[in-house]
Symmetry: none
């Protein structure tokens, strides 16, 4: 009687439902403020069941981070052709990566909020997890800079530390734009527009640097 009781559902499915509810709750209220009660209720199950499957709040959050990280990074990898070993000019590669990134963060705002706003700021052990994601994104960019350097025939013009700094700058600007784009309720820019603006801003400087041209304070 009543449509209240959900049917018995296989574990794998229930787990995903729980993760969906948790991601939304963590995004909305933050890691600490989100309560297991709320998450369980949002998932339409009882709290003990959440514990049976995900064991603890920490593990639950970890699972969220892992899932969201994986889908994001694989979207980027696929777009940049790293998965398939395709060959592409570096700017094309960066452009594709950025488009994929902005498209994904726009499509999954809660997941992105969990990664960017929550996990990074909750101290260990979560910061490390996101650091891994970030490292992968930075690595993509780093590799990209490397192959661009080869194309330009000017390997070694940049110190490793400077490359690291550049990669963080690029990733940071992308993150910032993603948040900006998501927060514009009305008239939000399309992923491609956003990517184009960022390419226009950064690609010339990047090419310059690869050719040894750098900005200097005038006198």
């Amino acid at each position: 009687m009543g449509a209240k009781e959900r049917k018995r559902v296989p574990r794998a499915v229930r787990e995903q439902e729980m993760l969906d509810a948790a991601v939304e709750s963590f995004a909305r209220h933050g890691y600490r403020a989100a309560s297991m009660d709320d998450i369980a209720e949002a998932a339409g199950v009882s709290k003990p069941l959440v514990y049976q499957y995900l064991h603890s709040k920490e593990e639950l959050f970890t699972a969220c981070v892992r899932r969201e990280s994986a889908t994001l990074i694989s979207a980027i990898r696929e777009a940049t052709g790293l998965e398939a070993g395709q060959v592409m000019p570096a700017d094309r590669q960066l452009w594709n990566g950025l488009c994929a990134f902005f498209a994904h963060t726009a499509a999954h705002p809660h997941g992105w909020a969990v990664l960017h706003q929550q996990a990074r700021t909750q101290g260990e052990p979560f910061a490390t997890q996101v650091a891994v994601l970030r490292a992968e994104m930075v690595e993509v960019v780093t590799r990209l800079i490397g192959s661009a350097a080869q194309d330009a025939g000017c390997d070694g013009a940049l110190a490793a530390r400077e490359v690291s700094g550049l990669a963080h700058a690029l990733v940071g600007s992308a993150e910032s734009m993603a948040e900006w784009a998501n927060s514009r309720q009305s008239d939000p820019p399309s992923p491609k527009e956003t990517a184009a603006t960022l390419m226009s801003l950064c690609w010339p400087g990047l090419e310059n640097l690869l050719n040894g041209v750098r900005w200097k304070p005038t006198r």
Copy 2:
């Protein structure tokens, strides 16, 4: 015996000591995880005294954010010459602002962490406070782009929305580099190095855009 008992100290001084302790605690553990007990102990006073002066956890955090925001933004304003109404070429202005920014965030890492990692992610009413700070930084950049456009004799080449996007990208990349610089325990880049890398990355693209030159996906 022992240095346990602090002398009676005027209120204004004690308040600053409390804010120091609170900023560090919030930076280390996050807003929710930092406990008033810990903060009071770190400040060397009893909890009721903290409440007598700062009234609540929320107001305490707000006071931290306000203080750290104020010192940061005034450092930037001073460096960019906005306070004194000086005239400077746009790139020089940007360069000075970035140097001040990286110097300040390096000198006050906890304060920066509170602003960038904590306040932004704790929802209302704190997000709004940091949004104000960010808006001021974005405004500085926006104004700067405007004056650069005038210098280049090409006003109006950029839509307002694109300028907004660019400003967010620039601010985001700076924030990201500040965090990266702070997190490099060994061999940390100097504020000037960091600023130089970022200028090299972004200035060429900015100049291009002001001249109507933008990156386009090849074919």
Copy 3:
């Protein structure tokens, strides 16, 4: 080992046990001085369970007041025949009501103390709740005076405000006697004795008033 651990018990039962403990604690120590810790311990459960079921100290107290009010007023209503619509001479009705009242307050001294000593004096919102109870008792008395007036064929001899005053005087004297009776540890008067004394004191004056006879200061 030991009878410490109580069995798992259905919610409805536990709630009543909690209310029992709370009523006693509130009666003994007063609303403010009674602590949730004590109440939980007296109920043989942990504090969180009390909160799970009753939500807050205020709601817990409210629930106590509601329960005690309900049992008292229904005892009176039943005795005066208001429930069943019986017809009775007014003095008989008053007599029955008083007997029920004194019997109930003697049987539930803690409940009575919560209503009479605590709820009334703790300001809003509790005062209102007891005001409702009192209003019901006053209304019973008022109706009773009205029907007595009809019996005496002298409707309208008393102003509404004076009836209100009389009702409060009657209710107040009953309340006072209930407390007096409860506080006599040794040789306590039976409910019927108490009721008889009060009837002897008040009924003649009431009859006089209905016939327009009132006391006047001599000369």
Copy 4:
């Protein structure tokens, strides 16, 4: 400079000011909820000064109760001629006492609230203090009934316990009417009206009882 600082004031005066503030605060918020901070502020002095003069919250409250009790009971004593040893018919004496009582409680509502609503309900040691006041009022009434009995030439018609019950009923009805009168914001009855209503209600029954006439349940 500024009219902020109150002049140095003799101790006796300051103490009365403190008691005034305390009585009002206790009446408004209740014993527990009234805070020493509020009371000190309302009295226009610092908290340590309150402690210097009144020693503790408990002693402060005790002093309030004592002062309010004393003024009330002496008003009654004076009115009933007990102080001066005057001779008066019993009904006249009761009438005078009631008038004095209702006049006093109407003139000092906060003091009456402290006695009737707060002190009685805060458990020991305050309940005892008010019990003393009540005992004095009951004693006045008891003596009055005794002298009325002599007048009527029918000593010993009433058992001591019944007299005690009657006295509590009378006192209770007076208390209840005082509260009722004080709580009627608009169109409040004058003390004399209130007293007249109560006399009309109770005196006939009292006379009857002294003559051995009592109410009996019919059949």
